[in-house]
Symmetry: C2
Subunit: 455 residues, 2 copies
C-alpha cells in the first residue's frame, strides 16, 4: 500500500481514464529516440520526423517578421521606438496595443475577455471576412483555441434531473482535445463518423443516426465541427455547412466551429466558408461558438498561446456567466493577445511592412501547399495505403490495409494492430504519427504534413 | 421562454453559483467610473484607485529591464544578437532558452510541463533557496499560479463511494481563486479562520475544529496555505509552518502552499520560509504542491502568465496522470516560461546586467515596502478601522466597525453592509476595494497597497 495521501484510486477517475493521443506513448517514444540518436545510437534513420502535431516553427518554419517585431516591441517599447530599422507601422501598432494595456505594459492583467482594441479588431476581421456584423463584446481572447473549448464545455456540463450527462457530438476522426475534454469533465461523447468515401464530408443521415442512438444516454447540447478538418485535411462545402446548420437548428444544438485552419486551404476551387457566414446567408440564427488561433495558418505561433472565440447569438445571461467563469483564470497571455491582433489586422497596402509581410505569408502557405500535394501523391503511391485529397489544414488521415501477418504479429505481443503499426513506423523510419484508429478492419493514422521537407 | 438552446437553467449550476469577487460587481463599477471620468463627469475624486487586485504595472511600476530584454529578444533574436546596446548576458540567456525550444523558436510548443532548461533552473533556484534537493522533473511550468491550482484541484476531485465530495481546507480570508475553483468543480470548501488577534496566523485548534466539523460532509484531501498571506499581508513563522505540516501529516492532507509572494517581505526580522524547507528541516515527507508566479514579487509580470508548481513527494503514478492531464492544454505560454527563467536565475555578480538588475529590484521592493508602511499607519489612524501589520505580500485586510446608521442604510436598500460600505467607498473616494467580508459583526475588505502612491 502506498504511504501517499493521494493515490491512483483516490483521484479523479475521469482524468485517469482520459486519453490524449497527440501527447501519448508514441510521441513519448519519439522523444526518447531523439535522445538516443543524440547519444550516437545507430538507428535505421538519422532524424525523427514528428508528425504527431502541427508545430510549424519546430520544423523550421520561420516566424513572420511583422508579427515578431510587434510582439518583441510590446515587451521592450522604448528600444523599439528608438530603433531606426523598425518600420513606422510596427511602432504604431506597438503604441496602439500598449495604449490599451494597464500602465501601457503587457505585464499588466487585461480584462478577462481580453484587451478591448484586440477584441474590436477581431470583430472587424470577422465582418470583413464574412460580410456580416460582429459585435466585439462577443469576442473572448483565449490561451490558444484549446482554452476556449475547455471553458465552454465546462459551462455546458450539467446533469439532467434524471442524472443524464451532457452530450456533445464530435466527429470521428477528430482532434483529441475534444474527446479528452469530454472525458475529463465526465460528459458524454456522441461520435459521428465522417464520410471517408466523400472526402470526409459530414453526412446528415449519419448525424441523425448518431443523435438517435444517443437518446437515453445523454442530453445532447452541442455539435463540434472542425473545418478545415483536423486530422482529415478536408474542406467543407458551403452546401454541407448549410445542411449541418439546419440539422443543428432542428435538433436544438449549439454549434462549436473549430475554424483554426481557415488560412490553410490547398485544393483548387475550394474556399473557406465560416459557419457564421453560411448561417447569415441562409437566415438562421443559432448559438455558435467559433474558434480561431495564432498557432496555425501561416503564423504557426503555437507557443504564444493566442486564440479567440466568438460567441454568436448566445443568451445574454449565459454570456454573463461565461464571462464570470473565465475571470477566475484572470486573462489569457497578453503577448498571445497581441499576436491575434497582428493576425486579424495585418499590414495594409501602403504600409511600410506590407510587402514583406505578404511575401512571407505567401511563401509559407505555398510551401505548406507543396507539402500537402507531396503527401497526396506519396501516400497514394504506396501499396496498401490510400488517402483522401488533403484539401486544407495540415494533415492527412490515410487508410492502411494491414496484412494478416502484421495483425498476427501485433496480437502476439498483446498490441492493437494500429498501435503496432504506428510504433513500428516510428522505430523503423523515425516517423512519429499519432491518432491511430481502427475502423471496419482498416487502420488509420494521422500525419501532419508541415513536418515534411520538399527538398 | 428563451428561444436559445443554451439557457441559464441548462448550464453548469456550479459555474452559475461561483463567485469571484476580485472581478465582481465592484471592479466592474470601477471600470464604469473610469469611463465616466474620461467623459468629463464630475466626481468627488479625480481618479479611480484600483485596489481590487495586485497589478503592479497597471499602477505604473516599471518592468525589470533584464527580464524585458530577454523576453523581447526571445521573440526577435536576430535583432537582439545584432544590437550593440544589449549586454552579453542578455544575449547568452536568449541563446540558451531558444536552444531548448523546438526550431529555436518560442512559437513552437514546449513539453506540457515546460521547457526543460527552465524546469532545471527552477529546481536549482529552490535548492539554493532552501538548502534541500529539488528534482526538475517535479517542476511544472504553468500559466500563472492559477492554472496550477485549477489543474491540481481537478485531479483531486472525486466522489467517495458514499457520494461525498472532495474537501479542501481553505483559509478565511483567502484569495478567491480557491473558493471559485472549488465551487466550479463542485468540491467542498472546509473553511478555517485565520487568527486576526495573532497577526492572521494559523491556529491549529481552529484547523482541527474546521476539519472535525467537515466530517460526514466530504472527504478531506488537501489544505491550502497562502504565505505570505493574500489578502492578509501576514508572514508565517517557521514554528507555525512546522505545526501546520504536522497537522497535515496527522490528518493525511496534501499541502498546497501558495508562495507567490515569497519576495515580498516587509516586516523587520520576518523571513520567508518555504513549506518545503521546513518539511525537510523537521524530517517530514509529505505530498506538497508549492506555487510560484512571475506576476508578483518585484517583477509584477502578470500579463505574461508565467508560473510554476513543484510537486514534492507525489506518488509516481499520480504524477504521470497529472502530466497526462495537463497535456490537453498543450503547454503554458513560452514567454511566461522564459520570464520564470529570469526570475529564478537573475544575473549573477560579475554579469554585465547584474548591477542594473539588482538596483531596479531593490528599488521596486523598497517602494512596495514604503507603501506597506503607509498602509499600516494610515489605516490604523482612521477612526473605526484597524488593520494588522502588513508584514508581507501586497495587501491589507482591515477591520471596519460600521456605525448602526450605516448598517440601517444598507439594509434599507437591500444591500449587505459590507457591500454597501465598499460600494460607497468607491462612489465617494474612487477607491476600489474588494473581497469584502462580514465576520462577528465586523466588516472587512481587502486593499492592495501596490496601488498607492507615496508622493
Amino acid at each position: 500500500m502506498s504511504s501517499n495521501v493521494i493515490s491512483l484510486d483516490s483521484i479523479n477517475e475521469n482524468i485517469v481514464k482520459m486519453e490524449y493521443a497527440v501527447r501519448g506513448p508514441i510521441p513519448a517514444r519519439a522523444v526518447e529516440l531523439i535522445g538516443e540518436l543524440k547519444s550516437g545510437a545507430k538507428k535505421p534513420f538519422n532524424e525523427v520526423i514528428r508528425a504527431n502535431i502541427g508545430d510549424c516553427h519546430m520544423m523550421g518554419e520561420r516566424p513572420n517578421t511583422f508579427i515578431r517585431q510587434v510582439l518583441s516591441g510590446c515587451l521592450n517599447p522604448e528600444a523599439a521606438y528608438n530603433d531606426p530599422n523598425l518600420a513606422d507601422d510596427v511602432k504604431e501598432r506597438i503604441r496602439l496595443l500598449l495604449s490599451y494595456c494597464g500602465g501601457r505594459s503587457v505585464g499588466s492583467y487585461s480584462d478577462s475577455a481580453g484587451i478591448e482594441i484586440v477584441r474590436r479588431h477581431v470583430a472587424e476581421y470577422i465582418e470583413e471576412r464574412d460580410g456580416f456584423p460582429s459585435n466585439w463584446r462577443n469576442i473572448v481572447l483565449t490561451s490558444g483555441a484549446s482554452e476556449g473549448v475547455k471553458c465552454l464545455f465546462a459551462l455546458l456540463n450539467s446533469k439532467s434531473s434524471e442524472g443524464l450527462p451532457t452530450g456533445i457530438m464530435v466527429p470521428i476522426p477528430q482532434y483529441p482535445l475534444y474527446s479528452a475534454t469530454i472525458s475529463e469533465l465526465g460528459m458524454y461523447q456522441i461520435s459521428y463518423y465522417l464520410n471517408e468515401t466523400n472526402e470526409w464530408a459530414l453526412d446528415i443521415n449519419e448525424l441523425e443516426r448518431a443523435l438517435r442512438e444517443s437518446t437515453s444516454k445523454c442530453i445532447p447540447k452541442a455539435i463540434v465541427v472542425i473545418n478545415p478538418g483536423n486530422p482529415t485535411g478536408s474542406v467543407l462545402t458551403q452546401e454541407n455547412i448549410a445542411q449541418i446548420i439546419k440539422f443543428a437548428r432542428e435538433n436544438n444544438l449549439l454549434i462549436v466551429a473549430d475554424e483554426v485552419y481557415q488560412h490553410n486551404i490547398w485544393k483548387k476551387d475550394a474556399s473557406f466558408f465560416s459557419f457564421k457566414r453560411v448561417m447569415n446567408q441562409i437566415g438562421v440564427k443559432l448559438e455558435l461558438a467559433s474558434l480561431m488561433s495564432a498557432s496555425k495558418g501561416y503564423m504557426g505561433e503555437c507557443g504564444v498561446r493566442g486564440g479567440y472565440m466568438e460567441l454568436d447569438n448566445f443568451d445574454d445571461q449565459v454570456k454573463a456567466i461565461f464571462m464570470k467563469q473565465i475571470s477566475a483564470r484572470l486573462c489569457s497571455p497578453l503577448i498571445g493577445q497581441c499576436a491575434i491582433d497582428c493576425v486579424v489586422r495585418p499590414p495594409k497596402e501602403g504600409d511600410p511592412s506590407y510587402e514583406q509581410y505578404w511575401n512571407e505569408r505567401k511563401q509559407v502557405l505555398a510551401s505548406l501547399k507543396d507539402r500537402a500535394e507531396l503527401t497526396n501523391h506519396t501516400l497514394n503511391a504506396l501499396p496498401g495505403i490510400k488517402s483522401n485529397y488533403v484539401a486544407g489544414a495540415m494533415y492527412a488521415f490515410p487508410c492502411i490495409e494491414l496484412p494478416p501477418k502484421a495483425i498476427a504479429a501485433a496480437k502476439a505481443i498483446g498490441q492493437e494492430p494500429d498501435f503496432f503499426y504506428v510504433k513500428q513506423l516510428l522505430e523503423e523510419t523515425g516517423i512519429c504519427g499519432t491518432w491511430f484508429w481502427i475502423w471496419s478492419n482498416s487502420w488509420y493514422f494521422s500525419f501532419s504534413h508541415d513536418n515534411l521537407t520538399t527538398t
